[in-house]
């Protein structure tokens, strides 16, 4: 693995190897040393959370980071080409971790520079490190990635997180339930991919009646801005808010996950149940990113 751009590039073996390394880093069996290694965090689109997670991952391994956030402070604004910006930053750093609203930006970056590139999100396309930390959270809580029943709820149309996760889990013979309002359904191209891989999925519009047989319920936020009429949002949002009473008949091993930030789609009364897993999930993100950086820099 030279870069991490898209889940589409990863084989099942590579994913399992990454899960294994992540587990060993968490348990302290592998202690990667990134002393004198510098990661350039280029965030052309704001994301405090993912940026902090990478920053933490690098610093936990004694490495360091240089950070560019937005385009205001850079020469991109002065008219420099994207390729020139990347090539210059590659002279200073050992690895580039980038987020961009432009789809395919990280793929292009990997063609332009000689150092490894990690895609930390490119528009509505891919967010592979989130998918990998989600997979790690699933394998850690369920003991396997195979034959699970996974519910994806919320905004399945615009959420790149659920797209990457669906593609990644498709390698492991899962059953999906897609739960969303009709106009925020999983895009056809993802469903076509799943069909060609013979992965079963069902689509529903109501969260409450469809979670009792799940192993994992992955909730994402429905953004008010997606609705043309605010009244439609008010009418619909109740169907997609997970509350404690809804969990009375779920499987014991169910874990509720969320990429965060949460707004009101998971009621806080779920937080202190044994099903809530979104905050440990965020912590898993640091271990996963440590593993990704270590593998790409040849340290493990």
């Amino acid at each position: 693995m030279k870069n991490l751009i898209s889940m589409r590039d990863l084989s099942k073996e590579e994913i399992l190897h990454l899960m294994d390394v992540t587990g060993k880093i968490e348990e302290g069996k592998i202690v990667p040393d990134m002393q004198r290694k510098l990661a350039a965090l280029l965030f052309f689109e704001p994301s405090t959370r993912t940026m902090f997670s990478f920053d933490t991952a690098m610093k936990r391994m004694n490495g360091d980071t240089i950070i560019m956030s937005g385009t205001g402070q850079t020469s991109v604004k002065k008219g420099e080409s994207f390729a020139d910006t990347l090539q210059t930053i590659a002279q200073y750093s050992d690895i580039i971790i980038m987020r961009s609203p432009v789809e395919g930006a990280a793929r292009y970056a990997s063609e332009v520079v000689d150092i490894p590139v990690v895609n930390a999100g490119d528009g509505a396309n891919q967010h592979p490190t989130q998918a990998l930390l989600d997979l790690y959270s699933i394998v850690k809580t369920q003991g396997t990635l195979e034959n699970l029943s996974i519910g994806l709820a919320g905004d399945l149309r615009f959420g790149r997180t659920v797209h990457s996760l669906a593609q990644a889990m498709a390698l492991f013979n899962v059953k999906f339930k897609f739960i969303s309002p009709s106009f925020l359904k999983m895009p056809q191209y993802i469903k076509d991919d799943l069909k060609s891989q013979k992965i079963e999925f069902e689509e529903y519009e109501n969260i409450e009646d469809n979670i009792d047989d799940l192993d994992v319920l992955y909730v994402t936020r429905i953004q008010k801005e997606r609705f043309a009429d605010p009244e439609d949002y008010e009418k619909l949002k109740g169907s997609y808010i997970l509350e404690r009473p809804m969990l009375s008949n779920v499987k014991e091993n169910l874990k509720v996950m969320h990429p965060l930030p949460r707004v009101d789609e998971i009621h806080t009364d779920v937080d202190n149940t044994e099903f809530a897993y979104y905050f440990p999930q965020a912590k898993n993100g640091v271990f996963t990113r440590q593993a990704i950086i270590s593998i790409l820099l040849g340290e493990v």
Partner: protein, 152 residues
């Protein structure tokens, strides 16, 4: 039958015939051809065909197609046959095939794709879908051939 065809679309002495174009696609083929306006071009539409039932055909005097033109035509008319004519005789006959990797021939329809904001060549790959689709190497979106714009 061949005599009737002869009347409908005249034979050429030297040049290129693009035969077996899917009926209705000839306009797209003409759009792709880099013509300077001086060539003699004959177009047949909705001719009867054993292979396709109905087909379109283009004959161009004194022109050989570039590799780009051939690959682009394969995208819009994947059943087409390319025939090179020398002295009224068929010199070469090739069935067109869509290339697996399609470089710099298609404009990505996704406005957020990097190929539409940076000066870089588009790259698409043929997928195994039926009907055939192409996937952008950069933004990873998949499109039917009819949904994409062919570059000139």
């Amino acid at each position: 039958m061949s005599q009737i065809k002869q009347i409908k679309v005249n034979a050429i002495k030297n040049g290129t015939v693009i035969d077996h174009i899917t009926a209705g696609k000839v306009r797209k083929v003409l759009d792709i051809l880099e013509l300077d306006g001086t060539e003699i071009v004959m177009v047949g539409m909705n001719l009867s065909s054993k292979k396709l039932n109905r087909k379109d055909i283009v004959k161009i005097e004194n022109k050989e197609l570039s590799r780009n033109e051939v690959n682009s035509i394969a995208l819009v008319a994947p059943n087409a046959t390319l025939i090179i004519i020398k002295d009224f005789e068929v010199e070469k006959k090739v069935s067109l095939e869509i290339p697996e990797n399609i470089e710099n021939l298609i404009v990505c329809p996704n406005p957020k794709c990097i190929t539409n904001s940076e000066d870089i060549k588009s790259k698409f790959r043929l997928t195994k879908d039926e009907p055939v689709k192409v996937r952008c190497f950069y933004c990873e979106k998949k499109y039917l051939i009819d949904e994409v714009k062919i570059k000139k």
